[in-house]
Symmetry: C2
Subunit: 511 residues, 2 copies
């Protein structure tokens, strides 16, 4: 049996190297997190369990109230910023003034989520019943059925749920970074503002108006956005720009009612075929969008930006294998190089049913939703206008409502096009001094070189912030790249939550 004295001596020896130097900020933050993992997980699971589809205003409001509670628990006075528009979701705002700080930074995340179709989620998963998975569903991940609240969580596990990654993870990382910083005796180097939006997934329709109405509160030297995934390699990222975005809903009409395909085949036009022809006419097999003037006003990457993209490049072969693809849409073009160009994407097509549900009919309508991503130089209204012109040039009569009998009698090819609210792309110059400080702060938390992206592929309404406030914006994407955001089986890897807390604590103390 070992003597008690011997054990104590061993502990002293092991602890010595750490005691000889001051603990780094990262070490303090990490130790605090390790000691509080159960509470952090419990709070985050409860948060993800609140339904947050942007259009579900009642539940969105429950999320806002929950975040207010999170802020208060951390000693931050919180309030809801709203405007007087029907259906506008509130921003959750909080502020910490730091004596002596000369700069103010807004930390942004959004708490609303994309629509969900629960039937498309894997067995045992539901959008708002978060569970732990051993890996992604696509990689054979299984539900950790025997885990109980309070038990340790493997950092390789994923927590499933709509918003788990996009973007409640952002709220979680930012708030816990601040909390860990303060609880371990740290002081932010900047005045910290918390700004959590509730309408990002529907195009931030009211963000401009909210900012304009609350200019003093939103004012800052810099906005830092926490949204989107880290690099495929796992490296941390600072992004200098985002693409813009706009959606179009198309509905092609044929006969007023679904028709027996035998009794009416070769007579009644098929809207699914006609819509397929239209969609096929929009983009070639070579991946090039065929809509006239589609690429006319793109601002190409500068030399500095091109170099950064090259530095950030990685083996697409690994990504392709992971996605189960032989080659990208345009063989030879890398994922990151594609971010320089606008996109035209089909989000979905629906016309009657397929497979076991299919019936031998000629459908009465066929629908598609398009997503246009925009790069610097594009204007969302000009870009959707080009698509509309293309549709008309294919012989369609475009309407914005259900067709009347008179319109049906007059036009053989009738299509309803509904253009959503869009916004343009935003890019911050890579040379900005404040941007260098952000890169340095993120770099202080990782031994791998930080990836600097001129733009990410995704979209955020950052241009609105620039336009209304005249403030620069940078993004620090922090979740795993295989998070299935916007789709079924969305998940966040636990280790990335832990890493994100360290990243944002570093940003709150940046030099």
């Amino acid at each position: 049996m070992h003597s008690r004295r011997f054990v104590c001596a061993a502990l002293v020896i092991v602890a010595l190297p750490l005691a000889l130097r001051a603990q780094t900020l990262q070490e303090k933050i990490r130790a605090h997190r390790v000691a509080h993992e159960s509470e952090l997980i419990a709070e985050f699971r409860d948060f993800v369990a609140i339904p947050n589809v942007s259009s579900d205003h009642e539940n969105v409001r429950r999320n806002a109230d929950y975040i207010v509670g999170m802020l208060k628990k951390r000693g931050v006075a919180a309030e809801l910023l709203t405007i007087d528009r029907p259906g506008a979701n509130p921003v959750v705002f909080g502020e910490v003034r730091v004596p002596g700080a000369t700069r103010t930074v807004v930390f942004y995340a959004h708490y609303d989520g994309q629509p969900v179709n629960p039937k498309q989620w894997a067995e045992g998963l539901a959008p708002f019943q978060p569970v732990f998975l051993t890996d992604t569903v696509e990689h054979g991940g299984k539900i950790v059925a025997d885990w109980q609240p309070g038990q340790p969580v493997n950092p390789q596990w994923r927590l499933s749920g709509r918003g788990a990654a996009d973007d409640k993870a952002g709220v979680m990382m930012i708030l816990n970074a601040y909390d860990a910083l303060v609880k371990t005796g740290g002081v932010p180097s900047v005045n910290v503002k918390f700004f959590f939006e509730g309408e990002e997934e529907i195009g931030s329709t009211n963000l401009g108006a909210i900012l304009a109405a609350h200019k003093a509160k939103a004012a800052a030297d810099l906005w830092i956005i926490c949204d989107g995934p880290r690099h495929v390699s796992g490296r941390k990222v600072v992004s200098f720009g985002v693409r813009g975005d706009v959606n179009l809903d198309l509905t092609a009409y044929a006969a007023k009612r679904p028709l027996h395909s035998g009794n009416y085949g070769n007579f009644a036009p098929n809207p699914a075929l006609r819509l397929a022809s239209l969609l096929a006419s929009m983009k070639g097999d070579d991946g090039r969008v065929l809509v006239k003037n589609f690429y006319d006003d793109d601002v190409q990457f500068s030399e500095t930006e091109k170099l950064a993209v090259e530095e950030a490049s990685f083996t697409d072969a690994q990504l392709l294998a992971e996605l189960g693809l032989k080659e990208p849409e345009v063989p030879g073009r890398s994922l990151l190089a594609g971010f320089e160009l606008p996109t035209l994407n089909i989000n979905g097509i629906t016309s009657a049913n397929t497979g076991k549900l299919a019936a031998n009919i000629i459908p009465s309508t066929a629908k598609a939703t398009l997503d246009l991503r925009l790069v610097l130089g594009n204007d969302w209204q000009r870009q959707t206008g080009r698509v509309l012109e293309h549709i008309k040039a294919q012989g369609w009569h475009v309407i914005d409502h259900e067709p009347t009998d008179a319109e049906r009698a007059q036009f053989a090819k009738l299509i309803r096009v509904e253009v959503g609210q869009g916004y343009n792309a935003q890019r911050t110059p890579m040379s900005l001094p404040l941007a260098q400080a952000v890169v340095a702060a993120v770099q202080s938390t990782t031994s791998e070189p930080v990836v600097k992206l001129p733009t990410v592929g995704g979209s955020l309404p950052l241009i609105i912030i620039e336009q209304v406030l005249g403030t620069r914006v940078l993004t620090v994407p922090s979740v795993n790249y295989d998070n299935n955001q916007h789709a079924e089986n969305e998940n966040v890897k636990v280790q990335y939550l832990w890493d994100g807390i360290e990243t944002f604590a570093a940003l709150m103390t940046m030099k």
Copy 2:
């Protein structure tokens, strides 16, 4: 106040013309029906309320048992004809031998129905909760909410429900024709066999085997099929042929999981776009199928058949207006002329979601179900082979299973094609004497000229009957043309049920 005597005298005068001559068969049948409408409606509503999707074997069996009960109630011994194959639905069979009869006629209908998607049905309607409508949903028909069982039914009303028209109406008409005939003292002129199939809507997969196993029971001089709609004008129809049919399910694959359209746009291929291109390549805007050799082996209509089609032609303008179409798929070609040609129809397309459910993703798969209608001369396996060759010629690698990782790594364009069980077209020569007797019988029940169609547009596996039994087959379609068969809001017009009872009573006493 009128005297009682005066009223009686008036009745005698009105009744006199009828009393002077014997009541016709049709008058007797009609009078019997009028006296028993409540019972007929009650029984039929109960019948339609039993779910009958072909693949729902348990409920299909409940339908079969219900029909057995209907036969027994009419004094006909009934039995189920089956074969020893898993999932084979039974045929309900009954037989009435008539002393002195020299011919035997099988009266056929099917009691199974197409798949249903209840969400697509109009508000208040459900596939298996039949209700009365004042008109079709598309014509603004409303549910007759205040109707109670036992109350009179307006013959212009529709009864809603899957199978109400296609083809439980056939079972209803045939059994009630026999019942009315016998109950009013009539005797069939032929031995009557009842043959009700339970797998017509899935291609009559087992019909050949069932016929072969029960040849003596199925033997007859003629099969008369009650299925499909009467002429658009409302005229009664005898059809001499049907088209063949086969389905193909296509699934185009891209990345293994749905991807964020911003983070992966311009990199990951979109399966919806690729499937749209493929479908667009199959059929031109001029309505012509572009699959190589698609029209190579059609047997064109003979001169007699062409004349019949011309005689049957009607103003397509009225139909187009009713369907809300400016013009047919091929402007200038009539509905009936199109029956001479095979079809390639898209039953449906599904890839992720559209409209409010849409998310900004690149879908992982896109599916389409195709329906090929075949005419005399076509072979279903040859025709599907042509479509498969076309798909390959567009650069697709065709598989019949979920792709393996090895296949994903080897082929950029992967598509799964599942070919259903098909059957060929059938046409009986218009000159056949037995066919003339059928036309005469139907003509005896209507003052309008009977429409004689060389073929209907729809499909029935009549070729199987011809091949296995060597027996000729004719079809007497009897429901309203706007019945939405195969689709949501299926309905049968009550007057057509009453008319059908008279038609089949005449056929059971044909000369």
